[in-house]
Subunit: 214 residues, 2 copies
């Protein structure tokens, strides 16, 4: 069955999914890069970027699994790029170069219309201006039997959580304190939304949690 | 060197150190009991309560270590008992029966004066009405070369954190979501207070973190 899921989403031990002051030099906010160490060391991450090497183990299993059965992605505008306001031109094509690691349609939430971007390797970016629910419907219709993955960032996940649209979340807690930035849970009660912890696993560089709504 | 420390303090994955609505039936707030499963299964916990059995392993090592080298404790009034306002009489002697597991002086923060309580096994409760710093001075003077342990609850730890008085914290993250209750970090930036993660260890039922201010 097709579900809507968050996978391999990294948070600090104090609950932040990104650091403060995101910009071109700090796409994940100040300190935010450290949240992702666990993923970047894995063989799955290396392979995704046409590299070799990388670690095997629990972290790698979760990284690999996060790319399985994904039929469409949804990203917030800030995860697609550092540009705010209207698109000045169409030169910004995401953080990921000519061949992004998605290989399926990616729906980007934005207030500013833009033509679809078709990249190498099967990734197409579609810019959705009529809201989170509309993006979800479009994503579901292209994903068909496969899952829709809500990629992030924090405010996008919070929006889909509050809408009651997320079925499953895999969070990776990294042994890092950020102290400020974008908090994933603040003001949101996961139990009230119906989530339960159904699996915990300890990786080499992060602790993995699977939360399921049911 | 004598330090001021928090040890074996359990928090949920969403950062709560106690559930909501603490009362006589829910001394840790609703759902709060589940935070402590990791500790209650250990041999160290069993031994502390004159029982036998209990688990060996990482969780047990941390539970045992939390009682080492403690010369005095500081507890908030709510951790001592469910009674609010003035002490109606002196019949309430804590949650722990005639022989509490402290075996050293325990300073209880309260707005209402009360005579010291001398219990079996070396535990004495002293009721401090002139604030957190005064309690800390008294605790340090009796602890001498040993450490002062800030037992909790959440608001007491937050008070000592904000005062800049805590040197080291051992937190145990339990695989539980509370959604509401008393949040340990809300509005507090541990990095700004100078804390760094110096150790992480994965236990059988919790993930352990050591934070040190330096």
């Amino acid at each position: 069955m097709s579900i809507v899921k968050v996978s391999a989403f990294s948070v600090s031990l104090d609950g932040f999914g990104a650091g403060p002051n995101q910009d071109l030099n700090n796409p994940l906010g100040v300190g935010g890069f450290d949240l992702h160490t666990w993923a970047m060391k894995t063989a799955a991450f290396a392979a995704m970027h046409q590299l070799t090497g990388g670690s095997q183990g629990v972290d790698n299993d979760f990284a690999a699994r996060s790319f399985e059965n994904v039929g469409a992605w949804i990203l917030g505008r800030n995860m697609f790029g550092p540009i705010r306001g209207p698109w000045e031109d169409e030169s910004w094509k995401g953080w990921w170069g000519e061949e992004p690691p998605y290989h399926v349609p990616v729906f980007v939430l934005t207030h500013y219309a833009r033509s679809p971007l078709h990249m190498k390797g099967g990734t197409s970016f579609y810019f959705v201006t009529d809201g989170a629910e509309a993006a979800l419907e479009q994503a579901k219709s292209v994903a068909k039997a496969r899952d829709v993955r809500i990629g992030g960032g924090v405010s996008t996940i919070r929006q889909y959580l509050n809408g009651g649209w997320i079925d499953e979340m895999h969070l990776a807690f990294s042994p890092v304190l950020l102290g400020e930035g974008e908090h994933l849970f603040g003001g949101i009660s996961l139990p009230k939304l119906g989530f339960k912890v159904i699996q915990t696993a300890v990786g080499e560089q992060a602790t993995h949690l699977i939360l399921k709504r049911g």
